[in-house]
């Protein structure tokens, strides 16, 4: 059976709202318009305007309201039309949500989910294309998830809604319409994925490729190409940016001795930097080649199609980096191709 990421998210919302009357969703166009990207389709009809709440375009205000409702014990899901607009509300995400449980020594927990599309879409320019994984992932008190497939989307969103802590849930607009096979188990309403655990999407032995969100698909494509050239790549779908599954990453690198990190966001202080540093800390002696970072280019997102393509990682970038990691190293690689 197949399911789109959109339907996966929609069904997760539906099931959790049906299971727990404290769960509600708020955001711009989530109700009557059925969601700017139709993720909340049908929910207004089913749960009514008390639980599916259209807001004005006032992110700081409605995010604060959501966080306040979570203080009280409700379980709000705050949709940002895209995460770019979460910057208007970021003070509430960081100072009001992430830090409250700590400052109050556990009195004020904040069971809330902030969700919406994150990162680059197609042709939407510099102000609508930023990836916030590294920023939010830096902040203790937050959990930060980034699904790739439909199972990820279902299992992680349901886990996020049930979680007692504030979760930033980073979707990807370009994945909404993609279909993925789904297991019977994953369609059960009790299905949840563990927060903080990465998934080995593809096993391999020559090089580890870490990725999250849309880039997992690219990494898998790269792995296929690499396989044809005799390089066996292990692809790790991070799923959770915070907590970051350092044990899984290190275990893989200790096996492959090579690492390529992939992300669409800006390079400096990115997820790749963290992974590289963490692996150097834990598994330095295992590394047979320098860690390779593939990331968004270090520029605001340009509109023109050709520049835009250059500004985000392509499959060939991942392939090239993986080859570099392999060829440069001492370990012999079965087949040689010109880089």
């Amino acid at each position: 059976k197949e399911m789109t990421v959109r339907d996966a998210l929609n069904s997760a919302l539906d099931e959790e709202m049906s299971a727990d009357p404290k769960v509600f969703i708020m955001g711009e166009e989530v109700g009557e318009y059925q969601g700017a990207y139709k993720i909340s389709k049908g929910l207004l009809d089913k749960y009514g305007p008390e639980r599916v709440i259209d807001t004005p375009i006032t992110e700081a205000g409605f995010t604060g309201i959501g966080v306040g409702a979570a203080y009280y014990g409700l379980k709000p899901i705050v949709e940002f039309m895209t995460f770019n607009f979460s910057m208007q509300a970021i003070d509430h995400i960081i100072n009001s949500a992430a830090k409250s449980n700590y400052m109050s020594a556990g009195q004020i927990s904040v069971p809330i989910v902030f969700r919406g599309p994150n990162g680059a879409a197609a042709g939407v320019g510099a102000q609508h294309s930023q990836c916030y994984a590294a920023w939010y992932g830096a902040c203790p008190g937050l959990k930060v998830l980034a699904p790739y497939s439909s199972e990820d989307a279902r299992g992680l969103l349901k886990a996020a809604i049930r979680d007692p802590d504030p979760v930033v849930f980073l979707e990807n607009e370009l994945l909404y319409g993609e279909s993925f096979p789904v297991s019977a188990e994953s369609l059960d309403s009790s299905f949840c994925l563990p927060i903080g655990k990465a998934k080995i999407e593809r096993e391999g032995k020559d090089v580890t490729i870490t990725a999250f969100s849309k880039m997992v698909g690219y990494a898998l494509k790269a792995a296929e190409i690499l396989a044809k050239e005799g390089i066996s790549a292990e692809v790790i779908n991070l799923r959770s940016i915070r907590p970051l599954d350092r044990p899984a990453i290190n275990a893989s690198v200790r096996k492959t001795n090579r690492l390529v990190t992939v992300e669409e966001g800006f390079p400096q202080h990115g997820v790749g930097a963290e992974i590289s540093a963490s692996v150097v800390e834990e598994s330095f002696e295992y590394l047979d080649a320098p860690v390779e970072r593939i990331s968004g280019a270090d520029v605001p997102m340009p509109y023109a199609a050709n520049l835009e393509r250059m500004a985000v990682p392509q499959v060939e970038d991942i392939v090239r980096a993986a080859k570099r990691a392999c060829y440069r190293a001492a370990k012999s690689v079965p087949m040689a191709a010109t880089a």
Binding site: E28, E29, E32, Y33, A36, D54, T55, P56, I57, T58, A60, G61, N84, F85, Q88, A121, A122, G123, V124, G125, A126, Q127, H128, P267, E292, R293, I294, S295, G296, A297, D298, V299, P300, P302, Y303, A304, A305, N306, L307, M310, A311, V312, P313, Q314, D317, R320, A321, R324
Partner: protein, 363 residues
Amino acid sequence: LSSDTITVETSIPFTGHNIDPPSRTVETSANELMTFFKDMAEMRRMEIAADSLYKAKLIRGFCHLYDGQEAVAIGMEAAITKKDCIITAYRDHCLFLGRGGGLYESFAELMGRKNGCSKGKGGSMHFYKKESGFYGGHGIVGAQVPLGIGLAFAQKYSKEEHVTFAMYGDGAANQGQLFEALNMAALWDLPAILVCENNHYGMGTAEWRAAKSPAYYKRGDYVPGLKVDGMDALAVKQACKFAKEHALKNGPIILEMDTYRYHGHSMSDPGSTYRTRDEISGVRQERDPIERIRKLILAHDIATEKELKDIEKEKRKVVDEAIAKAKESPMPDPSELFTNVYVKGFGVEAFGADRKEVRTTLP
């Protein structure tokens, strides 16, 4: 064509908040009315063409069209100079034209080409024309209002007798930063005119669902406001002239322009789920800004129906020519990926997606 004064009544009276509204009697001329007609016809045609280009996949991403709202751009320009500043949101194509921007550079930008007004790097939402006082083209709802008040701050700081028009939608009107910036504009007597283009919907949300008080001209509370028929270019002109004078003497003022967008919010919105087709066609028939001017021109015997139709045909032609030419414009050079990140890049290295493959020295 004559520049002799013609006197016209605005469609409806202005409504003032904390201020005596200007008179309904507007002065215009044959010349001006013909210019209004031509300019609006060009704007209208441009947006229709952009719609087609989008459907042909030559324009990508977000694309927000202005057809229906032309009278606001036109009437405002008739009241001010290019030393006055305008700043707006993402629905910016026609405001760019109004400031003297060209069709060719517009379409080239929309298609992401080298000869676009932002060299293809900005796209539909990010048009600018600084030399004639147009400061964009902003994608984040509400942000342009403090930015515009900052322009007004700079005008006053520079002791210039110019003003800034900061345009925003009915949806944006609820943004907190607007209230913050307005307070400062009022405290510091800045020559800022807040122009709320109330097209009655913020995306799919009707104004009353987003605002407890959708009387946007009153939302400045202690700041005066004026409600204007934004489908009547002459009313807009009158209001903007009034507002400019007010702003230079007394600081900020809000103009609520009652207007309408014919298209959906952006190209992904059919624009028909949250409003009735009757509503749209009603506005088209009764309040269309171009038709209003057409009627005035005919009533005053300034031109014949045939002449006006010819103008429209001519505009269709110039738009088509601009598009054809824009299609010839090449994609930006790949090296442009790294230009304009900074004005002064200090020659430091910048990286592409694969930093071992693509790295360059910033200019």
